[in-house]
Amino acid sequence: MSLDRQDVERIAHLARLAIDEADVPGYARNLSDILALVEQMNAVDTSAVEPLAHPMEASQRLRPDEVTETDQRELFQGIAPAVENGLYLVPKVIE
């Protein structure tokens, strides 16, 4: 699959990445090359193969329902870009 400018812009938007206008053709070329590499997978028939999501194929371990965390707001918000009254601030969200 070869990606064009519009594809790159659509994907960049979905991933919330600002891409310079001038860089779009470069990305389109690189991403198309990578997809060409990836599409070598199509040479093999996998219709009878179960997907493997995890090398271990183990099952989920469960955690007892206990409160183990304490309030560390001050520490965590010490590295935040913008906070006020304990809240993280972002530009106005329009519903």
């Binding site: 919330r16 690189n30 996998t46 193969v49 995890h54 271990m56 371990r61 590295i79 913008a82």
Partner: protein, 484 residues
């Protein structure tokens, strides 16, 4: 002092030949002096290191401590270190002071290791040359015009240049083994789940695994013993006792069955690199090992499948870097959309953006089955290849990398050619297996790595096989010129 291995340092500290404080001070000075040429260290934690060394000396004086007590090490800057910047090689986290320690950091500190600082790396561990770092490329100490490999290139270069006897690394598609090979050191990627991922900044969660980068297999055994173990904070960590990895190092290799995948010796493999591998196999034969050819027929699909699975997971893992709660935030965002797009667009470098976009595309509506699901199926085929092979052989050997270290800038414009430099390492991650790279000679004047792949949880055997080789050879003792 700086040329000693962990095992030697531990003995010297115990014999009071020098103190941990003296050694730590010497290595910090060495980093200050030599690192500007290599750019292997992003942050040196001098004060913390001296405090940890002093504490280690107290414990040693009272007869306490283990093989790592007072031993200075470096951490790849992907491991969170409380109170210390943890950048992951990215502008995005240039201002990120981690509020907690990674389990690996915690465990090594508990074992008494002294943290000298944090090493340079490809941004978010995405790269095979250490050129994608926000902090600039790392140079290979064997030839500073060449790359050290990646993504754990800073750790590899630092250990090779004797800035520290050991460093931690992480390996998602070869990021410990390939730079170890390219810098002439010993690197071990453990079985998936053997080492906790808590506090290790995620690139591709189902592939990432932390491991040691050292000069010898013996040191790797000591490091892994301290790093490995079940962690209730990581659902994918395996609840299984950690053996004493040093116990079996000297087991004879009589009758060891070594498999050589014919797919690892085909087109693209440098002839001189191949000659080194053949030389190494001769050493094993002399020690009584039996070498046979095997086949891993789906090898050629590993890189394609990997470049779906890893970017897909990374595209999601890296969504949390949005400029809201930590990390880089763009100046004066116009609105929420602008905040997201510019913080991420400016905070991430080109390779990270490429991978996020590939992953986003592979997961998007209408493409999931063709890419992600297909890759997961191929992942099973690749794993099954290995499982079949391990019914016949004990370990699999081959080159770690098809070439020696390449020149800085040589592959930066061609991501696909860069990706193919991990052609022999990537399948191991897809299968979750342990793999090592050890020095096996020189080609074109540069180090060559021998890759040893083991069955699940067979780290002790890998270390034994590597250690015996290092008893017979001195490739691992070679020091790059200018760093003696």
């Amino acid at each position: 002092m700086h040329r000693l291995t962990i095992a030697e340092v531990a003995g010297a500290l115990r014999r009071r030949e020098f103190s941990s404080e003296e050694l730590t001070r010497a290595l910090l000075a060495r980093i200050r002096e030599l690192d500007p040429e290599l750019n292997a260290v992003i942050t040196a934690t001098e004060e913390e290191a001296m405090a940890q060394a002093a504490e280690a000396d107290r414990r040693l004086a009272s007869g306490e401590g283990g093989p790592l007590t007072g031993v200075p090490i470096l951490h790849k800057d992907i491991f969170c270190t409380r109170g210390v910047r943890t950048s992951c090689g990215s502008r995005m986290l240039d201002n990120f002071i981690a509020p907690y320690d990674a389990t690996v950091v915690e465990k090594l500190a508990a074992a008494g290791a002294v943290m000298l600082g944090k090493t340079n790396m490809d941004e978010f561990a995405m790269g095979s040359s250490n050129e994608t770092s926000f902090y600039g490329p790392v140079k290979n100490p064997w030839d500073t015009d060449r790359v050290p490999g990646g993504s754990s290139g800073g750790s590899a270069a630092a250990v090779a240049a004797r800035l520290a006897p050991a460093a931690t690394g992480t390996d998602t598609g070869g990021s410990i083994r390939q730079p170890a090979a390219l810098t002439g050191i010993t690197g071990l990627k453990p079985t998936y789940g053997r080492v906790s991922r808590w506090g290790m900044i995620a690139f591709a969660s189902s592939l990432d695994q932390g491991g040691p980068m050292t000069r010898t297999a013996e040191d790797a055994a000591i490091m892994l013993g301290a790093m490995a173990g079940f962690d209730p904070r990581d659902s994918t960590s395996i609840d299984r006792p950690v053996p004493d990895y040093t116990a079996a190092l000297d087991q004879p290799l009589d009758g060891l069955r070594i498999g050589l995948p014919r797919e690892y010796f085909g087109d693209g493999l440098d002839n001189d690199v191949a000659a080194c591998i053949e030389g190494a196999l001769e050493v094993y034969k002399r020690m009584g090992a039996r070498v046979s050819e095997i086949s891993l027929p789906n090898t050629h699909l590993a890189v394609p499948a990997y470049y779906v699975v890893a970017p897909a997971e990374c595209s999601s893992n890296l969504s949390r870097y949005d400029g809201v709660r930590f990390g880089y935030r763009c100046q004066d965002p116009r609105d929420l959309e602008d905040l997201y797009k510019r913080s991420r667009g400016e905070g991430f470098g080109a390779e990270v953006k490429r991978r996020i976009m590939i992953g986003t595309y592979a997961l998007s509506a209408g493409y999931y089955d063709a890419y992600y699901l297909k890759a997961q199926k191929i992942r099973r085929l690749i794993r099954d290849d290995f499982m079949r092979a391990f019914e016949e052989v004990d370990v699999i050997m081959g080159p770690t990398s098809p070439t020696v270290a390449f020149r800085l800038g040589e592959k930066t414009d061609d991501p696909v050619s860069m990706y193919l430099s991990d052609i022999y390492t990537i399948a191991v991650n897809l299968a979750g297996l342990p793999g090592m790279s050890i020095p096996a000679g020189f080609a074109h004047g540069l180090p060559v790595g021998l890759q040893i792949i083991g069955n699940l949880f067979d780290e002790a055997r890998l270390l034994n096989v590597a250690h015996k080789f290092q008893q017979e050879t001195d490739w691992h003792q070679q020091v790059p010129g200018g760093f003696e």
